[in-house]
């Protein structure tokens, strides 16, 4: 692991840990807190950018390659913008600094997770990413968030327990934890396949893939939307990168056998997610089920794991997903805070009331639907190309059908926002600094458009990674 990258993680975690302490000592205002954490984010983003130079240490646990740098930087930016919006929508809460501190520590966990190259560090990084979110889900402290918190906690514990069981099987067979050593020592064996199934099931919980998807929408809907943005966007993307490392670096012996399972899970996950999303009345639930569907799209790329373009698909979809899902939930959070809008009916005419915010929300929804020139389009192109290259044309067709189908509910939100007459008379909160909150969302929109046009960074990183794993 590169020292600069390690320093970035340490600075992020320390800023997050000290933020509540600083607040207890000096009673800082919301703007001050946002400034302090922004300094932490900027320093660690800078350190991530320069992490291709400098010494490296403890290489058997974490690696700093192009994938880590790229996705790490994108996660940092998305998390920074999330922090700004969350500060703004929860500024009156006494415990907002604890919430932001947890968010920063969870982001540090996500940065560790995308660089983990050893099952010990993978599990610990995943816990570091998940543990603060257990607290954050509870943060609203009403009936629904308690239910969501309990559900999330038990599902998370089950997920990591399943994963640890699979890892313990691998350790029992080889006596090794690091991916590089496992690759040399593993052989085709039913027990290895069983361990793989357990590890994948653990990841399935984190990614809300089909048989394990049921908790996702309840949790994303029950907690405050700023936290849902972290859970659906940032932590899921990091989990996808970790799964990619496991599949390509640790278990290539058996992952070929898993291609069809991945394909099946992908097909069912996206279909179920899209069908259920269409049946929802609440916008947060629509976004939550669309997040399930998007887990399915990424799993298409995993199903095509024999071809190099699958890595481009996984990377591109994770990179785009960090911004579009996070930003969609953040826009929802802002609408909820200012207008109290939850259901489809509340969204009537909101686009006329908030032209700028409405336009940004539309960009994120279109990116989720896969409309060019946003990154959501090009990532789907790579994912479906990978499926066709790997000889799974049926899966690519099903994915296309699903994305066409998903446009229905995204367009429905757009229609409510722009073509209907407003129903909500006056905003429930109308802070003076409302125009500033557009800035973080606009930054995310810019990132989405740039990623949709400038393919270079992600494609280069995936080429390097593909040659590293021998595809």
């Amino acid at each position: 692991m590169n020292v600069n990258f390690l320093a970035a993680i340490m600075i992020l975690a320390l800023t997050g840990a000290f933020l509540p302490v600083i607040n207890r000592l000096f009673r800082i205002s919301g703007i001050m807190g946002a400034l302090i954490s922004s300094v932490g984010y900027v320093i660690s983003a800078f350190l991530v950018l320069i992490s291709d130079s400098g010494r490296s240490l403890l290489n058997s646990f974490f690696t700093t390659d192009d994938v880590t740098r790229l996705i790490g930087f994108l996660i940092l930016v998305a998390s920074w913008m999330t922090m700004l919006v969350v500060y703004w929508v929860t500024q009156r809460d006494k415990f907002v600094n604890e919430l932001i501190g947890s968010l920063m520590i969870a982001t540090a966990g996500a940065l560790l997770l995308i660089s983990a190259e050893n099952f010990v560090s993978l599990v610990i990084a995943m816990e570091l990413m998940t543990m603060p979110t257990y607290l954050m889900v509870l943060f609203a402290f009403d009936e629904r968030s308690f239910e969501a918190g309990v559900k999330y906690f038990f599902n998370g514990a089950l997920a990591v327990g399943t994963m640890l069981f699979g890892i313990s099987l691998l350790y029992g067979m080889t006596g090794e934890f690091s991916f590089a050593a496992l690759v040399q020592n593993l052989f085709k064996d039913p027990l290895v396949a069983l361990a793989g199934v357990f590890i994948l099931a653990g990841f399935g919980f984190k990614l809300t893939a089909f048989p394990f998807h049921f908790w996702g929408p309840d949790v994303y809907d029950g907690t405050c939307p700023g936290v849902a943005a972290l859970l659906t966007g940032i932590s899921k993307s990091a989990a996808f990168i970790a799964l990619m490392r496991v599949v390509y670096e640790a278990l290539p012996v058996i992952s070929g056998k898993f291609a069809f399972i991945f394909a099946l899970i992908a097909a069912v996950t996206m279909t179920v997610g899209n069908l259920l999303a269409l049946a929802q009345k609440r916008v947060s639930r629509i976004l939550a089920y669309s997040s399930v569907a998007h887990a399915g799209y990424t799993l298409i790329a995993f199903a095509a794991l024999s071809v190099p373009v699958s890595i481009t698909g996984i990377l591109y979809h994770s990179a785009a997903y960090v911004f579009m899902k996070t930003a969609a939930f953040l826009s929802f959070a802002v609408f909820l805070y200012v207008w109290g809008a939850r259901t489809m009916d509340d969204y009537k005419g909101l686009g006329k009331r908030e032209p700028l915010l409405g336009a940004l929300f539309l960009i994120f929804l279109f990116s989720l639907a896969g409309v060019p020139p946003m990154a959501g389009f090009i990532s789907k192109v790579f994912v479906f190309t990978a499926a066709v290259d790997a000889g799974m044309t049926w899966l690519a067709l099903l994915g296309l059908l699903n994305s066409a189908f998903s446009v229905a509910y995204y367009i429905w939100i757009a229609k409510q926002m722009y073509l209907e007459e407003p129903v909500i008379e006056s905003p429930i909160n109308n802070p003076f600094d409302k125009k500033f909150i557009v800035i973080p969302l606009a930054v995310m929109a810019v990132f989405l458009v740039v990623l949709g046009i400038w393919l270079g960074p992600v494609v280069d990183a995936s080429t390097v990674y593909a040659s590293k794993v021998g595809l």
């Binding site: 692991m1 840990a17 509540p20 604890e98 520590i105 560790l112 010990v120 570091l128």
Partner: protein, 159 residues
């Protein structure tokens, strides 16, 4: 001498464990469990695994028993004492315990005589923890920090 102590503490531990599950009074059962844990720690000491023994006393005798007693405080103890034990659940429990015992005895007979007590010393545990696995170990400490922040935020919220 060592062997006498080993069997003595082993028997005490087993008797107290039996007492803790058969005792009608839940608090009495909890205290018996505490005694069982501590004498189990003493058993570790007699076979040379001092570190495991200390950890056993601190973690089980200290933390876990306190957790049990706190959980008992929140429950209605008298009501529990009056409840009848169902035959089916007792049978299921007995079946699982006997199965577990058979498995343990089978495995234990295989590794008998091959145990290396030196492995359980503090030094052998500390070396990998502070050299090879240093970074994951340090990250776990941040996890504890998160848990502290969470506990404070949740507890103070209700004021």
């Amino acid at each position: 001498m060592k062997e006498i102590l080993f069997y003595l503490f082993g028997v005490i531990s087993a008797v107290l464990a039996l007492l803790s599950v058969t005792s009608k009074n839940v608090i009495k059962g909890g205290v018996a469990l505490l005694g069982s844990f501590i004498s189990l720690g003493a058993v570790y000491f007699t076979v040379g695994a001092e570190f495991v023994g200390i950890i056993q006393v601190i973690v089980y005798g200290g933390a876990i028993i306190v957790l049990y007693l706190f959980a008992l405080l929140t429950m209605d103890v008298k009501k529990i004492a009056e409840e009848k034990v169902r035959g089916s659940s007792a049978a299921a429990g007995a079946f699982l315990s006997i199965l577990l015992m058979i498995l343990l005895l089978l495995e234990a007979s295989k590794i008998a005589g091959k145990v290396k007590p030196a492995v359980s010393g503090a030094k052998e545990l500390a070396l990998p923890l502070f050299f090879k696995y240093l970074l994951p170990f340090e990250i776990v400490s941040i996890l504890l920090l998160v848990a502290t922040i969470g506990a404070v935020a949740i507890a103070r919220r209700e004021e």
